[in-house]
Symmetry: C2
Subunit: 243 residues, 2 copies
């Protein structure tokens, strides 16, 4: 793990790092020492580790809960190079959709392919970050919607350190088996008028989670329009389960 830069702003220390070829960012309370809960955040498709939605939430997790938060770029996103295989598949998929195949299934297959790479990467990130004095081996949470849900479901299913997860804006296609292995508390966000994820696919993914404590929050609006008050709920959810 190599640190590239460290800056502080408004009570939050931000450290950019690379772990092997993975570029990441770690946020912690300024001048903090000692073990604390850690939230790993998975960004959305086409976004990156410091996208506004990630940054805004990370700041709140740090300042209001005293957590550490880590986010890394998904392959072919942010500061990472293109992946030739992904480009080839994207081109093939375009042709297959034009030939009448269903986009949703192709997208699900593609996410599963990416997850085979991100799940071990994210576990390595946890290993490295939890070695740091100002993070330590405390309880871990996961936050990710949209692509962050598609990659988050297999990650949470595979990683026993994760004690609670906020997921959502994702459908059941290709996810049922992993979802059935998730038993930690989940807060699951649904946008009632999601133009990208059919409502019944969302509800079925919630249904597939094996967690005894899981709570679905549905709000009107499109895929990108999660209302601001859900962040308040997320903060309390993580505070309850990691704090």
């Amino acid at each position: 793990m190599r640190f590239i830069s460290e800056t502080s702003f408004d009570g939050v220390r931000e450290q950019l790092f690379t772990l092997g070829e993975i570029p990441g960012v770690l946020w912690t309370p300024e001048d903090s020492v000692g073990t604390r809960p850690l939230v790993l955040m998975g960004h959305g498709g086409g976004q990156h580790k410091q996208a506004p939605g990630i940054l805004a939430r990370a700041r709140r997790f740090v300042t209001e809960c005293g957590f550490a938060v880590v986010a890394v770029d998904v392959p072919a996103h942010g500061d990472r190079p293109k992946v030739e295989e992904y480009d080839r598949i994207a081109t093939e998929n375009q042709a297959r959709v034009e030939a009448g195949e269903e986009l949703a299934q192709l997208m699900a297959d593609f996410q599963a392919l990416v997850a085979r790479r991100t799940v071990p990467e994210w576990r390595e990130v946890l290993d490295a970050v939890q070695q740091l004095d100002h993070v330590g081996a405390g309880p871990v949470g996961y936050w990710g919607v949209s692509l962050g849900c598609g990659l988050g479901i297999p990650f949470v299913a595979a990683e026993p350190r994760v004690r609670a997860a906020v997921l959502g804006l994702g459908g059941v296609l290709g996810q049922a088996e992993a979802a059935a292995r998730i038993t930690v508390p989940v807060e699951f966000l649904v946008q009632w008028d999601d133009e990208r994820v059919p409502r019944d696919q969302s509800l079925s993914l919630f249904d597939a989670l094996a967690s005894t404590e899981k709570t679905l929050h549905a709000n009107p609006g499109k895929h990108g329009e999660i209302p601001g008050f859900e962040l308040e709920s997320t903060l309390r959810f993580f505070a309850r389960h990691l704090g």
Copy 2:
């Protein structure tokens, strides 16, 4: 409006009253004066104005938000006499179900009949309670699930003083038209394994609400098993919209 008794416990003043033939209870912060938000609570079927679920929530609304809370017995519930017409209908319905008619539709028709009485009663209760010095004409909220949702939907639709409502454990049958007239913020509770309200009926009732701000919270468990953390969410919802 005639006050019958007044007691105080742990910061909450409880006043029993009758308004005409309606028995009611008003909770306010002990020694409070001046106008404050008021929450009207509708109890569940077979319950009454001081049922444990009502009482526990009312106390929290008073102690944590400084609200006034009022609840009255629904006709044929609590301290109110039997209603011959309701008994007759119940007996008829029993026979009709045995003859193959659908219970859900009969129940919906029955709730609509009761609502024709409770809607004007509850509006009278608001009129009377808002005259009191320690309540006043502040913003009004409504809380009611199960029967309290069945009667609450037409009440909230009819009463412009209500600025926010917590509803749930109810289906769309017979409620779509009133729900479509509700435009205030709603927090809507669904029990994912509700043995009394089919899931799609619940989701359709949420869907039918015309409110631009509405949020559905679904949790695993049966009809009566709303998890405790939903009360925290309800408190914040009312604080946000009435506070």
